[in-house]
Amino acid sequence: MKKFFVPALLVSLLSLPVQAAEHYLIDTSKHHAFITFKIKHLGYSWLLGRFNDFSGSFDYDANNPSANKVDISIDMSSIDTNHAERDKHLRSDDFFDVEKYPKATFTTTSYADKGHGKAVLKGTLTLHGVKKAITIDVDQIGAGPDPWGGYRRGFEGTTTLHLSDYNLKKANILGPAAENVELYLSIEGIRQ
């Protein structure tokens, strides 16, 4: 009995990673991932920006997509709207107060597969110390081996945040046209 038990255990352990979710690290070191936003300026045009530094990972299980999840941590001081003075203002306590709230995080609460690579990802965004449930519409772009011996999988996601939800001291000075912030995420992960 014992003789058979050990190999059986080994086989079941070895087969476990195949059946379990694949774990991916978001490729931020080579910048194949982007967190960008746009917000209306005076209601006349879109202002574009992005966060240059963040890190995260996701679990992907094709057989059990409801177990898929994403965790992202954003370095708020890396906000970049291509204008040093504006970025300084956004980092200040008039807006994101990055000294007090250096990170924004997203953690998954649910993932609902909609077929054809589309999904609805729900989770908690913690921004400026405020926790909000947000919903991200997800589209899988592709997956496969890369030329350097790894395996990659990529998604895009969109969601709309409401500036007034996050208790930013001077957000109201931007006017009602700037209430909605459109987020666009492009995420590529390397399978671990």
């Binding site: 001081s77 890396s78 906000i79 970049d80 291509n82 204008h83 040093a84 003075e85 970025d87 300084k88 980092r91 200040s92 990055v98 000294e99 000075i173 931007l174 006017g175």
Partner: protein, 190 residues
């Protein structure tokens, strides 16, 4: 006339002193005013543009003034020995603070590579890129050194009045280009 001598300041030193004094106090007031403006105020962009352009001119004056000061002879300090020592450190303190406030002021808007437009004549290019936290540190140093500089400037002015009205020497007069007709008025060594 243009150069200093042991009795009085030359015209160049006098001009640099008063242009920079006026520039620095104006920049300080403008800086406080402009950072408190409403987004929809017509000066929301004009204020910082003027502040940066004037700041670059004052920085240029400082670049001219530092070698001028250290290569030129300086008029004899007046007052008691401890007053002369204090004045020495107050004067040097002005230079340290001017360098700090002007350099950090330059670093903030140029942190991402943008230059500073000086009234459409020239654009001062960025020479150093800063990360967000470094730019914020430059902002804090800018704010603090500006406050220290104007407080020190006010103390310096009060000391000049004291020389003029209490000691009745020509410390103030020689900085406005006037000099006692006969011998310089000597400080009373009480």
């Amino acid at each position: 006339m243009l150069l200093n001598n042991r009795a009085r300041y030359g015209l160049v030193a006098i001009a640099l002193h008063w242009l920079m004094a006026a520039g620095i106090f104006f920049l300080f007031g403008l800086g406080l005013y402009m950072t408190d403006l409403d987004y929809y105020d017509s000066w929301y962009h004009k204020g910082p543009d003027l502040h940066k352009a004037l700041g670059m001119i004052v920085l240029l004056l400082l670049i001219a003034r530092i070698p001028w000061r250290f290569l030129n002879v300086r008029p004899e300090p007046q007052g008691r020995p401890w007053e002369q020592r204090l004045a020495h450190w107050v004067h040097n303190g002005h230079y340290v603070l001017m360098v700090l406030v002007l350099v950090t002021g330059y670093l903030i808007p140029t942190a991402k590579g943008e230059g500073i437009d000086v009234f459409g004549f020239i654009e001062v290019p960025s020479i150093m890129l800063l990360s967000g936290p470094q730019e914020d540190l430059a902002g804090q140093v800018h704010w603090l050194s500006a406050w220290f500089l104007v407080v020190l400037g006010v103390l310096h002015a009060l000391a000049a009045y004291k020389h003029h009205f209490v000691d009745k020497d020509d410390t103030l007069l020689r900085m406005i280009g006037r000099k006692a007709v006969t011998e310089p008025r000597k400080g009373k060594s009480t």
